[in-house]
């Protein structure tokens, strides 16, 4: 199959390196892979895909790979973004096809385009959280909403300057919860980006502490659905 591909030098060189943005999912087993491991994995995926990567100049040349918003370990996602730079004019469809062959369905690429916005514009991220419960009820679903919208909700939060107690409500932009057959499905919009960022694990911990959920070894799962701009519109 590799031999059917066109050679890289059959694609015309670009005057300036071009940044292309890739959207990919990170699901199943991949949720346990840390951001650092993902970065190493990425370099290898790109090499397997044989893309016309642009390399940094200088002593230790390396491809430029910039991730939009690191995903915490233990969360799945359908909306991860990464920018790469290419030096030849390979169409986006071809890039996607090559990437597709170089990875597994749990880490698959769904979009490739030339971006208009910078990752710095990311302001929030929407997550779906599912919490298992033996007898889900409307009352508890309401209580979940109340906990996640009533200030202060003090949690020990890690940051660069160490651990300290903070009210996490300002970081929860919206929260909804409904009971379903196996527990509760939550939909939360959390601050995301380099200035304010809330890991969805804090939301789970808060519910564990305040509402005694997940106390008998029940499972929960987290899925990042979209990343958004300040105005709530989807970032792309």
């Amino acid at each position: 199959m590799l031999s059917e591909r066109k050679e890289l030098n059959e694609y015309p060189p670009l005057a300036e390196p071009r940044t292309v943005r890739l959207r990919f999912c990170k699901r199943g087993a991949l949720q346990y892979i840390s951001h650092l491991d993902l970065q190493r994995t990425f370099a290898r995926i790109l090499a397997r895909a044989e893309l016309p990567l642009w390399y940094t100049q200088g002593f230790n040349p390396h491809p430029k790979i910039v991730f939009g918003l690191p995903l915490p370990v233990g969360s799945e996602s359908v909306c991860e973004l990464v920018d790469i730079r290419i030096e030849r004019d390979m169409p986006c469809g071809e890039i996607l096809e090559r990437l597709h062959a170089a990875t597994t369905p749990e880490l698959d690429f769904t979009e490739c385009y030339v971006p208009e916005r910078k990752f710095a514009d990311i302001a929030s991220a929407e997550y779906k959280i599912h919490i298992d419960a033996a007898v889900p009820s409307d009352e508890i679903a309401c209580a979940i909403k109340t906990v996640l919208t009533t200030s202060p909700l003090k949690m020990m939060k890690r940051s660069k300057s160490g651990e300290k107690e903070v009210d996490i409500i300002p970081f929860i932009k919206s929260a909804d919860a409904v009971p379903d057959g196996t527990g509760y499905t939550l939909n939360v919009l959390l601050s995301a980006g380099s200035t304010d960022n809330l890991n969805p694990e804090y939301v789970v911990s808060a519910l564990r502490q305040r509402l005694l959920l997940l106390r008998s070894g029940e499972e929960y799962s987290v899925m990042r659905l979209r990343v958004c701009l300040e105005n709530g519109e989807e970032f792309r």
């Binding site: 590799l2 199943g28 087993a29 991949l30 949720q31 346990y32 892979i33 840390s34 491991d37 993902l38 190493r40 994995t41 370099a43 290898r44 995926i45 790109l46 090499a47 397997r48 895909a49 044989e50 390399y55 040349p61 390396h62 370990v73 233990g74 170089a102 990875t103 597994t104 749990e106 070894g217 029940e218 499972e219 929960y220 799962s221």
Partner: protein, 615 residues
């Protein structure tokens, strides 16, 4: 299969999550045999093993066989598994190992034996083979430790002696054929021992002992079971199965790169080195084959580094052709080359410029002994001049760090030889200043000293290891001789080496002690933080085992050794001759200079340097 909460509760969940690119998934309903291939250590160590990569590919070549991987869960996961009552499962399917047809272990070092027992236990299987009925998987062992499998023989149904590329599929094929006919495990084992060369079934032999505790004899219980099991080799490496794809770990592993096996065996013949003897005769791959395989592996993995792995890589007859061919495309793809094993007598500026490992700031040489006399005894044909020349090249090209590997406790060693270690390090420092255009920073020479462990199938297999006290005294002594701040000195733990010697040289009577060690919770003994000498010694004492009998006793020429049941090609008489020459301080030329008649030519092989080889 682990649950989310189990995975979220342990360190490095990526060890257990699976889902790697390149893993092989089959429909379990459609296969005739399921093989669980275990590396009894952590995922990061196991995934770094080339043998496992090869055999995983070999077994999965057959559509009706599914080979999956198994590793030792780390302590935190093990606790969780025991608390939740979760049995050990295979990596790909998440199905319990206990339901497989085979459980194979690759035995790379003796200190993994307690992990082997723990894996059996976590899988829910009785430790002793005799206690496992026909519903349990057949337990197979292979790898370098299988050359003296006796200390763990009672736990295994069958051992693979030698290279498994051809033997392992034959074993599985025979099993499928006999299972269809409704044969029992016992019938299968006898048939395998009788018909597949290289198969050793320990339960088919009676072992008797002399009153002094030494082995008297191994007697096959049935007709047709070989009196000696001869090692299998792959004759033509160019035609050998080669895994074109690799399972790509997401988490960082010890060997996280392409491992390109250039040849098997070693033309040298260092007298302490087991690998140098058991992998004879030397068989090379052609550069054409290697270049094709390297390119293919790169396309399928995207690894940024290719490591040429063989025992003494600079002995490859066509090394320059190979490195030149690789560099033609690796530079453009920004792929680094690295050579793990360099001999000082063939080290050159040209080679150094080509390879990344040497481009790094530190460089490693292994003179092994401090004086020429002792280097002659061990047949390490390296001179101080070679070392100084190589160090000079390294220093002249801007490096300031050199690492030197030595061994202490070698046969005939005196304190003068230990002085020699410090002296050689000092001379290396002086070489730095004597080298024109050396680097601006002061040099750093590290000497790393390990303790000699006598190994089966070496000329030193009859030797007594120094006692722990003597080894520790020697370690201390070397420390007192190193006074220069530019020399850093590290040494291995003599107590680990003692236990290693017992397990390497032991016989079947060690089994109860190993079971006891397992019951006391021993595992990960290869990891400093988990090894406890005191606990090991108390376990041996409780089992009535005198460790000195195994480790510190010099054996007679005519003693029946526990591993005499195995024929590794190299004859016992050759090994004894080499031992005599060691004591005569006489060296033996390499196989390329002159054949010394070791006996390995009888195994045959293509393009080997042995005269009169069968093909």
């Amino acid at each position: 299969m682990f649950s989310c909460s189990q995975l979220k509760s342990v360190s490095k969940p990526g060890r257990y999550a699976g889902g790697e690119f390149g893993q092989i998934i089959k429909d379990k309903e459609k296969v005739a045999a399921r093989f669980a291939f275990c590396f009894p250590d952590s995922y990061e160590i196991g995934m770094s093993n080339l043998g496992m990569r090869i055999l995983y590919g070999v077994l999965n070549q057959a559509d009706d066989v599914w080979c999956e991987r198994v590793f030792s869960p780390w302590k935190d996961m093990e606790e969780r598994m025991r608390a939740d009552g979760v049995p050990l499962c295979a990596h790909e399917s998440g199905d319990p190992v206990r339901d497989f047809d085979f459980l194979g272990f690759t035995l790379q070092y003796e200190m993994c034996y307690t992990n082997v027992l723990n894996v059996l236990d976590l899988a829910g299987m009785p430790l002793y083979a005799a206690e496992r009925d026909d519903t349990y998987p057949i337990v197979i062992g292979g790898g370098p430790c299988a050359y003296n499998p006796e200390p763990i023989a009672d736990f295994f149904d069958l051992f693979n002696i030698g290279e498994g590329e051809e033997m392992l599929p034959e074993i599985v094929r025979l099993y499928i054929k006999m299972k269809e006919k409704g044969a029992t495990k016992a019938e299968f084992l006898i048939e395998a021992a009788r018909t597949i060369p290289g198969v050793y079934v320990p339960s088919l032999y009676d072992v008797t002992y002399n009153s002094d505790g030494t082995v008297k004899a191994y007697t096959p219980k049935y007709e047709g079971v070989p009196a000696k099991v001869t090692k299998r080799i792959v004759k033509d490496l160019d035609k050998m199965f080669f895994p074109e794809a690799v399972v790509m770990p997401y988490i960082e592993c010890v060997q996280d790169r392409i491992m390109l096996e250039v040849f098997r065996g070693c033309i040298r013949g260092c007298r302490f080195c087991q690998a140098g003897m058991i992998y004879r005769p030397v068989r090379e791959k052609s550069p054409e084959t290697l270049l094709r395989q390297a390119k293919c592996l790169y396309e399928n993995t995207g690894y940024e580094e290719i490591s040429l792995t063989s025992l003494s890589i600079s002995d490859y007859t066509r090394l320059h052709e190979l490195t030149d061919g690789l560099i033609e495309w690796t530079n453009e793809k920004k792929v680094n080359l690295s050579l793990p094993s360099l001999r000082v007598d063939s080290f050159s500026r040209e080679l150094m410029d080509k390879v990344a490992s040497v481009r790094a700031s530190s460089i490693t040489f292994a003179p092994e002994a401090g004086t020429q006399r002792l280097r002659d005894v061990i047949n390490k044909n390296v001179t101080e001049e070679d070392l100084m020349r190589s160090a000079g090249i390294a220093f002249g090209s801007g490096k300031e760090q050199v690492k030197l590997y030595f061994m202490n406790g070698l046969p005939t060693e005196t304190y003068e030889d230990l002085d020699g270690i410090a002296a050689l390090a000092k001379a290396t420092v002086e070489q730095f200043y004597a080298t024109p255009n050396h680097g601006k920073r002061p040099p750093q020479v590290t000497i790393s000293v390990s303790c000699f462990v006598p190994k089966p199938f070496t000329p030193f297999q009859w030797e007594a290891q120094d006692t722990v006290e003597t080894l520790e005294e020697k370690n201390r002594y070397i420390g007192t001789r190193v006074t220069d701040r530019k020399i850093r000195y590290t040494h291995h733990d003599a107590r680990v080496s003692h236990i290693e010697a017992v397990l390497a040289l032991g016989d079947r009577r060690l089994a109860p002690a190993l079971v006891k060690a397992h019951e006391e919770g021993f595992e990960f003994d290869a990891w400093d933080e988990y090894f406890s000498y005191e606990k090991w010694m108390s376990v041996f004492a409780a089992a009535g085992i005198d460790t000195a009998f195994y480790a510190n006793r010099r054996r007679d020429k005519d003693e029946v050794l526990p591993w005499d049941i195995i024929d590794c090609g190299v004859t016992k008489s050759f090994l004894w001759r080499e031992r005599e020459k060691a004591y005569g301080e006489t060296t033996t030329p390499s196989c390329r200079e002159k054949c010394s008649g070791c006996g390995a030519n009888c195994l045959g092989g293509k393009d080997i340097c042995c005269p009169n080889a069968k093909n």
